[in-house]
Symmetry: C2
Subunit: 463 residues, 2 copies
């Protein structure tokens, strides 16, 4: 079928003016008088809707006038510019083909629905303004991320989803199995015989692709992952999901400074890409979700990010300890209240906090010369706090295995990872960006359930 | 660190000629005479390697000369054009910093290793020529797919990985659970009490995002998915993996013709993108993996794909039944031998086979007017057979539920899917492209384990 999209019509209305066009879409509203009527039509390709005017010269005038919200139709007609009206043009329909009717009990009537209600109909909510905007922007952010890294010749690596290791260390894991839970094979020790499982051992869903990603950075220099990760954590908050996507670049022959430069360039690139490619959606968010959104994002895109060591940050925050629920002192982990205070009140722009105490960070982070801190970095942004976490990695075999011993980690589980430090090790660094957190940040949406098409949280795995 | 990549040097050698550059990379080989030596260096950004010349004026001349293959170094020196030599330029090193040594037992010595051996060191094999080429091309194909759909304003949808439905119907599933297998909660019926599991019920890994994807096509018109899918099938072949990525576009207000047009345009776009952006890698595959690769791909990119109905295809194949292990007759499913015969011998180009008997296809495919066949399409390509499978979907509520009853499917499991046929249903279509099969097709690699960074197959889940 030769259909024109609503996006094409808006982008090139001059070209189509006075011409006959055919558009397919879903009815947002119909109102009719005796001899003519108006239809507001959405075809999902553009945030703005299309106005269709139809007349009683049509055979099915009465039938069209009775169509319910949500019905699918194909409209043929002439595009007429309407410079004096609210909308820039309309279609004077000569024919309307009814593809599929809707019903009067269609769950999305023309009124405001609560986010909570819309979550119960995740298969229909993308038809609303809010979720049209959210999920188109989500798609654009994903593409901006690929585009950013590919333009810089990074290699996209699909790290595995099912992992035989429980050594990723970032959280509670989901078990993956083909064993029949009602009829488990038992070993002689009275425990489940995992050797009978699909992979010949117990396997889980990944919590991070980083360790695998590092192996590819040691071959391609610059790589990134972009895939789903999982946490089986029993936390029912607005910011946690059991299944979410993560981007994890890893760069070789690079240190913490290079890592921060990369993270800063990436965030600015994403923001600019979305502001440029989804202006209608961003204006909608700014009007209905968060009045300061666009100003804040433009501020981030236009400022040089601050850089401050954890030790300095603690000194700065200590002066305001009376304003915090949790008082800070050297050695403590930063809470969201501290992070937001740093970026919103003290720096008034995004800021990297670097060189955290080694005891509050992961084993693979590079030990600094002070012997107390590691070359970690967290990127804090106004309105949210931490959005990116990363580090330079410990490339020294002896220091790394020493740290693993301190923490009681089993070296055999990390053979492949230690090989990287035996065979041509080099300074390298990387970070992780939670994709959904990034979408929340760019849209102003405050609940992670509303930026994931079909969210998975404790007790919730619908559709 | 301000490093220039080998890719940049090759792309702009004139610009760098006579200038001092700094490059980090890994040693592929070293050979020295008394007063000078040669290093072949790879930094992973470009398929070609960099020649470095170093001299005994360097303090660490002896140490450098003893470096093992795989060592990481940083080289400073002047880029000198060498128009008469095999390589277009070399670096006359003034300084070599040793980042990380390798050892004499480095598993990748300068010789041919078997694919089987390299599979046992999946963390190191991307350092070899073959896997440098495979995994850069894999990355480029992934990007080409995003680029193709985004340029056409398709919305990228992350359909869920963990699913509460076992209704996707495409194969054996992996169970996902947080229950302690050694201490399962039992219900009164003596069976495992799945209500105690993380999501309050039994959940599995997805086998297809299509049904979820359709819900988004009914909101955005044109969408695509690109994510991991899973099959717990006990098949140990060169073409099956338990974890693989799939692309599933879905288009609304579109029929089977539109679907074929889209698939054909996509395949041609991917091929052209890779030929243009990875000429060195493709030349390597053509020389060492498959001598007809580039000619075949150019043929596909340059030809109009054939289109033939299943019924006509059966008539054509029947004439050659003496050449087949499995004889064809109307109603049978096509085997790879038939598919390849059609595309390689009869059509001598890619061909879509359409309108298969309904009994060998899925329940959601649109019934044709003949009542016997469905609007399915398989795309067959020379050298491999089926690479894409898709269909127009049944948009009629009564026909769809009728077909589900015939097949004994439980309607309650498909409530959300049937809603799409109640509220503004429209003709729509989609297809699935197995990403790894696509990578195999474009690289000539014959084992799926060699196009996945960390492959998962029966009994194998390493790293």
């Amino acid at each position: 079928m030769e259909l024109i999209t609503v996006r094409e019509l808006f982008k090139e209305k001059e070209k189509f003016a006075g011409k006959e066009v055919t558009v397919g879409g879903w009815i947002r509203s119909v109102r009719d008088s005796k001899t003519f009527g108006f239809i507001v039509l959405s075809d999902g390709t553009y945030f703005e809707t299309l106005q269709v005017v139809y007349h009683d010269k049509m055979e099915n005038f009465a039938e069209v006038s009775k169509l319910n919200v949500g019905s699918a139709i194909i409209v043929k007609g002439e595009l007429t510019l309407t410079p004096d009206a609210k909308q820039p043009f309309e279609i004077q329909a000569t024919e309307i083909i009814i593809e599929g009717k809707s019903t009067s009990d269609y769950p999305l009537q023309k009124k405001r629905h609560s986010m909570e209600y819309l979550r119960t109909i995740s298969h229909l909510r993308p038809r609303t303004n809010t979720f049209q905007a959210v999920f188109r922007v989500r798609s654009l952010i994903a593409y901006a991320i690929h585009k950013f890294f590919q333009e810089r010749d990074f290699v996209y690596v699909h790290t595995p989803i099912i992992t035989g290791s429980d050594a990723e260390g970032a959280g509670e894991m989901f078990r993956v199995t083909t064993l029949d839970l009602d009829n488990l094979p038992m070993g002689e020790d009275g425990k489940v015989d995992n050797s009978k499982d699909f992979f010949g051992k117990a396997t889980n869903l990944t919590v991070s692709g980083q360790l695998n990603g590092e192996t590819y950075a040691m071959a391609f220099k610059n790589i990134y992952t972009f895939g789903p990760t999982f946490r089986a954590e029993n936390s029912n908050t607005t910011r946690h999901a059991a299944e979410f996507w993560m981007i994890e670049p890893e760069i070789a022959f690079a240190d913490l400074e290079d890592n921060m430069d990369l993270a800063e360039a990436m965030l600015k690139y994403i923001i600019n890409y979305v502001l440029e490619n989804a202006p209608e959606e961003m204006a909608f968010f700014n009007q209905f979700i968060d009045k300061e959104l666009i100003e804040r994002l433009k501020g981030v895109a236009g400022s040089d990010f601050g850089r401050v060591s954890y030790t300095e940050a603690i000194e700065l925050l200590k002066e305001h300890n009376d304003e915090f629920d949790y008082k800070v002192s050297w050695g403590c982990d930063l809470q969201t209240e501290h992070e937001r205070y740093l970026t919103e009140k003290i720096f008034k722009r995004p800021v990297f906090v670097t060189d955290y105490p080694k005891d509050i960070k992961a084993f693979y982070m590079k030990l600094n010369e002070d012997g107390k801190t590691v070359a970690a970095m967290d990127c804090l942004v106004p309105g949210i706090g931490e959005i990116i976490g990363g580090s330079q990695r410990e490339e020294d075999y002896d220091l790394l295995t020493g740290r693993m011993k301190e923490l009681g980690l089993n070296e055999a589980d990390y053979d492949f990872y230690l090989d990287l430090r035996k065979y041509g090790s080099t300074r390298h660094a990387g970070f992780g960006l939670g994709f959904e957190r990034c979408v929340m940040y760019l849209t102003g949406m405050s609940n992670i359930r509303d930026v994931i098409p079909f969210p998975r949280t404790v007790g919730n795995c619908e559709l």
